[in-house]
Symmetry: C2
Subunit: 573 residues, 2 copies
């Protein structure tokens, strides 16, 4: 593509509403343009990127045997009433009334439509398994759209749905799709992790999320480098030593006049934070409606995991105790509370790690005092309950016993689910088995946020100059920057020839024939994330060379003019 024939709309200014680098850079590079809240046009440059992602996703879906179709975006309410989701989906669903006052929605997802197709088209077990997918515009009316295309209201999604005679068949397709998703993200050249996920509201059994790794990611992930274990931090199991060390110290009061946090106490005592315990007061509501005072114990350097706590008996809807409730139950203000000497009405819940600690430091339930050398069994009873109630941390043992955990942050770009019979039962999607008996189909569903991937990739790859695209996604592979295209015939002739030769060699080249200054050309190419740059100048041509620089290279290098195609094939393909 010749730049003079293309349309660029790079901007110097970051948009007002942008927080994330990807949002800022996508607008500044002219990949997208805002139409309204959560609504973006994909400009020619951006659409080139989006289509590359789409093409790889489609290709891997086809290779996995999924069949592409295209369902309407507008869906009738009646189908959603069958599964009850019209009522439960809430305001995120964009509802529409047509000229005949019939109700529809702009589809946020397509389980109902595809299940309707399956129940009317599938008669026999012989037709199963089936796996359909589409790549389509979806709409979710987010209450606060933000982050550009990462949380837009209108977005492009690949959604696949599989139908099976039995769970074993679903498991096979599920594994197949897991592999296809891995292939997609590998081909895209993104650092990613598949993690076990909670199935949440969509229902069903097994579920994995695929995350693009980026420091700005909304999700914390834990993974084991020496095994394939990976999970959302929300779910990753935290292990602890099975054996508690013997008590070696005597319990004693420590004066901590102003020290209310574990950090402050550890600093005062000059001990590791991992020898302290913090106590959190939580109120549970019991089945009979009465409330219960809970004291949760977490090691000083750990963090409570609310999702895990939520799953404990009575703590489904827990809340933190008020200062008044703390004083009432422990006769002590917050900051100095602890598990020693509490009454029987207090349920003490220790994290697994805490339960294995000895000689620890905790609040004394006495203003301005902590206790050191505390030991379960000797100084206080064993906890009422020992449970996994903390987030895993870097260095924890992997739950599969095959190594230790590392942490990172990720952006969810894919999610696969074993739906089982949630939708097929509600909508009566059945088939006749070999014995001509009616059976309910098993289902899976598999989503990829196609447009979101572009944003996530930029979160993973950017620097002060702009976007760093992996080669799979770059709008152009190489930009050719002639110095004085409109002034030097030698330069324009050489640039035109290199441009033609590269395209003939299958390398997508952009020829910056606009006659811009080098600084402008270089800055725009770097902003747009073009991986390779060739600079054609009279001086180099006199030596038979052109200048090459990779987007992330520190220094440029000279390449012989006669080898430039060969060179580019080596670095770019």
């Amino acid at each position: 593509m010749r730049a003079s024939q293309f349309f660029f709309n790079t901007q110097k200014e970051a948009p007002n509403d942008a927080e994330l680098p990807s949002h800022i850079l996508m607008v500044r590079a002219g990949l997208i343009k805002r139409l309204g809240s959560g609504l973006y046009s994909w400009m020619p440059l951006g659409l080139r990127v989006l289509r590359k992602v789409e093409t790889i996703v489609r290709d891997e879906m086809n290779k996995a045997g999924a069949l592409e179709l295209l369902m309407p975006a507008v869906q009738p309410r009646e189908l959603w009433d069958e599964t009850g989701r019209w009522a439960v989906f809430g305001p995120q669903m964009l509802k529409i009334t047509d000229r005949h006052s019939r109700e529809f929605c702009f589809g946020p997802t397509h389980e109902e439509v595809i299940t309707d197709i399956a129940r009317s088209e599938v008669r026999s077990y012989k037709q199963l398994p089936l796996n359909f997918y589409q790549i389509q515009t979806k709409f979710r009316d987010e209450i606060r759209p933000r982050f550009g295309v990462m949380r837009a209201r209108e977005f492009m999604m690949k959604d696949a749905y599989s139908f099976h005679t039995d769970f074993a068949s679903l498991e096979t397709t599920y594994a197949n799709m897991y592999q296809a998703y891995s292939n997609v993200f590998n081909r895209l050249g993104l650092k990613f992790r598949a993690v076990k996920a909670d199935t949440g509201a969509i229902g069903g059994d097994g579920s994995h999320e695929f995350h693009v790794l980026a420091d700005s990611g909304e999700d914390g992930l834990a993974y084991c480098d020496t095994s394939d274990y990976a999970a959302n931090v929300e779910l990753a199991e935290a292990l602890a030593p099975n054996v508690r060390g013997a008590a070696t110290e005597v319990m004693r009061d420590v004066e901590t006049p102003k020290q209310t946090s574990c950090e402050e106490v550890a600093a005062l005592l000059n001990i590791g934070l991992d020898r302290t315990i913090k106590a959190m007061a939580l109120i549970a509501t019991l089945e009979d409606g009465s409330t219960q005072f809970n004291l949760l114990l977490i090691r000083g350097d750990h963090r409570m995991n609310e999702i895990k706590v939520n799953k404990l008996d009575g703590l489904h809807d827990f809340r933190f105790a008020t200062e008044e409730e703390v004083r009432e139950n422990l006769k002590c203000p917050p900051g100095f509370i602890g598990p020693v000497g509490v009454g029987a009405h207090v349920r003490v819940i220790a994290d697994r790690t805490v339960a294995a600690m000895s000689d620890f430091v905790c609040g004394a339930n006495k203003p301005k005092y902590h206790l050191s050398g505390v030991n379960f069994g000797r100084d206080l009873p064993e906890p009422s309950l020992v449970a996994d109630i903390r987030n895993v941390v870097e260095g924890d043992a992997s739950p599969d016993g095959k190594g230790i955990l590392s942490l990172c942050r990720g952006i969810e770009v894919g999610h696969i689910f074993q739906l089982r019979t949630k939708y097929s039962e509600a909508m009566n999607a059945t088939y006749l088995d070999e014995a001509s008996q009616t059976q309910v189909m098993e289902m899976g569903c598999y989503g990829i946020g196609v447009s979101r991937i572009v944003g996530a990739a930029i979160e993973q790859g950017n620097d002060a100059r702009g976007i760093i695209f992996p080669k799979s996604m770059a709008p152009f592979t190489v930009t050719i920057c002639p110095i004085g295209y409109d002034k030097s015939e030698a330069v324009s002739a050489a640039a035109n020839k290199i441009y033609a030769d590269l395209n003939a060699a299958g390398i997508e080249a952009l020829l910056d024939d606009r006659g811009e200054r080098p600084g402008v050309m270089f800055a725009e190419a770097d902003l747009m994330g073009i991986p390779h740059r060739l600079v054609i100048g009279e001086r180099g041509l006199a030596d038979g060379t052109v200048e090459y620089k990779g987007r992330t290279d520190a220094e440029a290098q000279m390449v012989a003019l006669k080898n430039v195609v060969e060179f580019m094939q080596k670095v770019a393909l």
Copy 2:
């Protein structure tokens, strides 16, 4: 593709709501599946066809230098208020209210959005001309959706919009797009015509429609085989001889006791219908609110063109006179009325052809009588007005003077417009010219009904057995039908090899490996419109041959097994 890995849902029964062959066949062949009124899923087989159309459209747009982008389907009301179209578009526009009670529509077209982009991104004449396009899902809430995808509510459209400094530039791009559209339909292998069109409500000046020719088409078209003249019958100019023949007969009363139509009178008198004149009584409403009685004269074998009549002075909102008005003004009941002896209050408007007639037959304004041998100037005054008020007919002179006209019917699948400044003025889309003066951009817009093309192609190509696709659009190029795939190893081995060889040669083959009976395989392939068929049987293999039949061939032929790829390359590529 192996049929066992694909999904077919052919049906024996035609859908209840289908009238047109294309609608019936698309549902029966399993190309589409109805979700609701005017809402269709494109099933895997149909999507293959749709994508082929889309790919050719995209390729020709790119070749024409248009830049692809993708605008949101959901558009804010505010933009439509700027052009006033929110109010005028009417119930065809699907209106949406989001969770924050802001108003949007599901875009029926994108003039407002693209003009908004142009006005904010284009500053200088140096950036122009620009031509953007997208291929996208649109929604028009038709009051009576029908004909399957031909008049669906949700449909796929290619819409392009160009921006220019001046009209000359618009004309250049317009001509460019005209050529690109011709290329698209030629590559699709469709018989089509581009015709001049009325610009109607979208506004602007020049406009052409592109029609796929089919007997079931909604539009009548006139074209000249010896020149490039073509127009919608609604607009095609009807010429007439300049010179009137001399009077040779004497005017006389003819008794026509029961003959009220030209056909009946001509039969009674044993003369050609082209010697008769029919008179139509129309009421015009004048500017002062008064009404005027008009007698329109059309040759007996011609038909009045209401659009042309509408353009005559005072007849913008004409209506046909009531029987009472006819009796009051002409003292005669309908059926025997004519232009001879009418009072001065009657405006006589003659079609051009009528004005050139002599010795004609017309109503006598006397019950049960007509007049023959009537001549203008001698028996009645020259008409108050001579105008083109009829539809052209087969054999009329072409308005460009380069031949005679033929007629056909067409389905509109493309429309190009010179919008001029209708939108750019309303939305203040300006640029700075060379003298740094602010100027309003000129605009063009160019639409293709991508999904409609599939239906139109089937209207053009079908027979009693099913669809006849042009090779550009067929879901598969050739179907391989092994007789006894699951029984004969020789057959399955040969079929597998031919399948692999054809695919390797770039010929999209479907291997019907389902073990169906030949009759079922043949009938389905014919229904789905697959252009070529190879039958592999043990008997043929023994002779080293396979059977070939083209979709429209009367007879099958035998092809040497060793030449089959070469043969298929010749007939299919």
